[in-house]
């Protein structure tokens, strides 16, 4: 039963990373250059989750829970946007800009938030079970 809390915590952490990624994507949706003015379009952050928790101390614990395998910066999440006044525009006036839909990101954020809360509920149940078990001795 102690393992349950670790599992739920790993779930919460994973969902928080997804929330952060969604926020970053919304913020960078129109970024095409870095602070020096070079062409450096913002690449959409995609959080890759995988089950299991390598940071767990026991072999059994490593098979349970979830972890972030990587936060992938997708180089193909670009689309041509018509910005003829931009210094980075090609001969037709198009710039390869981030292909990020803030609506899609918000939906992702909502799903991550709901999953986060589900993990919180699971953690609460695990804690309650622990408290109940201890009362057997008291």
């Amino acid at each position: 039963m102690f393992g349950s809390l670790d599992i739920s915590t790993s779930g919460m952490v994973a969902q928080r990373v997804r929330l952060t990624a969604a926020s970053a994507n919304i913020a960078g949706a129109s970024v095409v250059e870095d602070q020096y003015g070079n062409y450096a379009p913002f690449l959409r952050r995609e959080v890759m989750l995988a089950s299991g928790d390598p940071s767990s101390t026991s072999r059994e614990g490593r098979g349970l829970g979830v972890h972030v395998r990587e936060v992938y910066q997708n180089p193909e999440a670009l689309r041509a946007r018509y910005m003829p006044s931009s210094p980075h525009a090609d001969e037709n006036g198009y710039v390869m800009a981030p292909d990020i839909s803030s609506v899609a990101e918000q939906v992702d954020a909502m799903e991550a938030s709901r999953a986060y809360e589900a993990n919180v509920a699971a953690a609460e149940v695990s804690k309650a079970m622990l408290a109940q078990a201890l009362r057997l001795i008291a």
Binding site: G3, L64, A121
Partner: protein
């Protein structure tokens, strides 16, 4: 005699149920942690299957001793193996669910309900065990003279 007192009456069944529900909580927490993991297959052990197995052991013991006391002999099932020291080892089966776009067949409402019911059963077993232990403790501590 101590063994008989400790495994008296309904204590073995209560203990078995507490172990099962306590361990199943881990499984459910794992499924919930992987709600958004692509290609994840949720697994579960069936509480009805466990209750059936427990019922078989209880029936067998009642036939043998004619009453409520005595050790339980749980033979285990495909999903739940019973170790010598009473611990349970799960081999969960795939749980059903709708296959969603990221190939994760979760069903968050069903998971929540499972978790609530599981906790409910745990609570009942735990409270009943506490009541029984309380009576035993009273019997032990009440000494006159």
């Amino acid at each position: 005699m101590l063994q008989k007192t400790i495994s008296a009456g309904s204590l073995p069944t209560l203990e078995a149920m507490m172990r099962f529900t306590g361990q199943r909580q881990r499984l459910l927490a794992h499924n919930i942690a992987n709600l958004t993991t692509p290609d994840f297959q949720a697994k579960d052990v069936s509480p009805q299957g466990f209750q059936e197995m427990l019922g078989d052991a209880v029936s067998k013991r009642r036939k043998q001793t004619g009453g409520v006391d005595g050790r339980l002999d749980m033979r285990g099932s495909r999903e739940v193996k019973v170790m010598d020291d009473g611990r349970l080892s799960f081999r969960p089966a795939d749980s059903d669910g709708v296959l969603l776009h990221d190939r994760n067949n979760r069903d968050v409402e069903r998971l929540m309900q499972d978790m609530t019911e599981n906790y409910g059963m745990y609570r009942v077993a735990n409270d009943l065990m506490r009541a029984r232990m309380g009576v035993i403790r009273t019997a032990i501590s009440q000494r006159v003279g």
